[in-house]
Amino acid sequence: MKRVSRFFGRLRAFVVRDFQLALSYRIQFLFRTLEILFFVTTMFFISKIFTGGAVTSYTQWTNPLAAWITGLAVLNYFMTGFSSFANAIRQEQAQGTLEGVLMTPVNIPTFIVSSSAYDFAQATVYSSLYLLFGWLFFDVRFQGNFLLAFLFLIITTLVLASVGILSASFAVVFKRGDPFGILLATTSTLFSGVFFPTQLLSEHGGRILGGISRFLPPTYGLDGIRRVLIQGQGFNEVREPLFTLLLFLVVLMPFSFWVFSRAVRRAKREGSLIQY
């Protein structure tokens, strides 16, 4: 119990610190909000090209604007999942503050999780803004079980966080050039169905290209969330993507923790833990 309260005390310390740092750059929040509003507005006008012309077989895409803003909101969250851990390490290394933090009785997993907490809080706000602007200004309506959609969001984020921990392990040892983050960030947009249905990949790119999306966790996360929020499907109908995500989680989470502990040990041996 004492350990849990100590963990949350430290988590709070990092969140407050990051909030104070964000406050010292107040204008950034304003511009990011405006950026999201402009982006959703742009998507609204592009969606008008397809008015009445959307292919009905792509059931999640009958309202392209709803599909896009869901995709963007969720992608924003997923990106945070696999980039924030490595960013936390890299940023502290680059600033030189890692030594100060690691001199306190905080273990490294606590440090990584806590220093990413504000990123997730921020991603929640920005992702909500996509949905809010769509609903407020462009009449996008969402239906279905929001709790189920949230469950998808959490599980997919945990899966991507596992990839994020692999990415952080890379940052600990090699400092830059992390292949996991780059690979997932670039492939997710193209292969996970953020901007178009994944079926199009098979139809126009062949089976191999279409098959890539099956290996990417965000594909299942996005599909599940759209099925719930746009098509209004329930638990029984979304079991397949949900269990696939759980399978990814069971394999990736322990593996990433194992790799991370090895990476930290190696960096301490080389004396490069706080170097950048």
Partner: protein
């Protein structure tokens, strides 16, 4: 080398015992010893050596930074570590601080092993380095210290009280709401000392704590360090690394000389100087007696001396062995002849002489 100065390699009796759950509830297992270092060696491996070999890149050699280092720092002691740049001081400090793992040997802080119990070791230690970048420059001093206090597990009320106390003690109160980036280098360094003391740790590792301070601030900091170690209720152990040898002499009960990764001597500053040069030149200035009278009385007290006259005073110079009674005899003799001692100076070997001696001695190559 004098046997007193040589470090004896002790048997490997150092074994960190099993510890209980909470680091603050555990009693130290080695009473009297705050930091125990046993046969510590550190060689920095070549990063990605196999990959470099595979691509036939020119191989660099591993760097042996420390070799077979052993010594103890006692509870409540101010212990100095001196040596040239690259001698291994920083590596040693970082190993004690758990930031770097040793290749072999062990470090224990209040009985906790720096590798096996690193979180508990960190709970016992406060580290202040001259590294300004280890703070958040856009946050105020207060915000920075509050963040670190929370990481140390202090409650908000305890953190506020402790930060207030430290800011007052280090004369930083008027700057509490200033951003760290706006502070002078000296004030940044004082904030680093404040951070090291946040959790009232029993052990402080101070790396050149007065390097950028003005003379008055440096004196205040030295007085603070002294008072911490002398605290009767809760004496703090200080491992002080500095290139300011006068500061080391003033503060430290014992000093370790490190050269090319090896500890060459551990002793009190006085003994280190004495072993290096067991004699000092004394210069006494006296008034109220003539040169002849002085010469007469001193010939019975000293075997060799020189007397000179200058204005209304005479100057007596002689060489004596450190801690013999020649000075006492000379002063008594001059007094007996009606003289008043006006000044007394001595030229002794300094820690710089000691350092130079060890650096000039041939030694097996270790170091960066």
């Amino acid at each position: 080398m004098n046997g007193l100065l040589k470090l004896t390699a002790t048997s490997s009796t150092f074994i960190a015992e099993e510890v209980a759950r909470d680091e603050r509830e555990i009693q130290p297992q080695q009473q009297g010893v705050a930091i125990s270092i046993r046969q510590l060696s550190k060689t920095y491996p070549v990063a990605l050596a196999r990959l470099k070999k595979f691509f036939r890149r020119k191989a660099t050699h591993p760097v042996e930074a420390l070799r077979d280092v052993s010594f103890d720092v006692r509870e409540g002691e101010i212990f100095g570590l001196i040596g040239r740049n690259g001698a291994g001081k920083t590596t040693l400090t970082k190993i004690i601080a758990t930031l770097v793992q040793p290749t072999s040997g062990a470090v224990a802080v209040h009985g906790f092993d720096s590798v096996q119990d690193e979180v508990r070791v960190r709970a016992q230690i406060g580290l202040a380095t001259a590294e300004e970048r280890s703070f958040y420059w856009r946050l105020t001093i207060e915000q920075n210290l509050t963040f670190f206090a929370r990481l140390y597990g202090l409650t908000d009320a305890a953190a506020r009280a402790r930060i207030g106390e430290l800011l007052a003690r280090l004369e930083l109160e008027p700057l509490a709401r200033r951003r760290f980036g706006e502070l002078s280098t000296g004030n940044k360094q004082r904030v680093a000392v404040a951070r090291a003391m946040l959790s009232s740790p029993p052990v402080l590792l101070l790396d050149e704590p007065t390097r950028s301070l003005d003379p008055l601030a440096a004196a205040t900091t030295r007085a603070l360090i002294n008072s911490l170690a002398r605290d009767a209720d809760k004496p703090v152990t200080v491992l002080l690394t500095s290139h300011n040898l006068a500061e080391i002499e003033e503060l430290c009960a014992r000093v370790a000389v490190i050269s090319r990764g090896q500890i060459r001597a551990v002793d009190t500053p006085e003994r280190l100087r004495a072993v290096h040069k067991n004699a000092e030149r004394v210069r006494l200035t006296a008034r109220g007696l003539s040169m002849e009278a002085a010469r007469g009385v001193l010939s019975g007290a000293l075997t060799e001396f020189e007397v000179a006259e200058g204005g209304n005073e005479i100057v007596v110079q002689f060489t004596r062995a450190v801690e013999d009674d020649a000075l006492d005899r000379a002063v008594r003799a001059l007094h007996a002849a009606g003289g008043r001692i006006h000044a007394c100076d001595s030229e002794r070997a300094t820690l710089l002489d000691v350092l130079e001696k060890y650096e000039s001695e041939p030694q097996e190559g270790v170091g960066k």
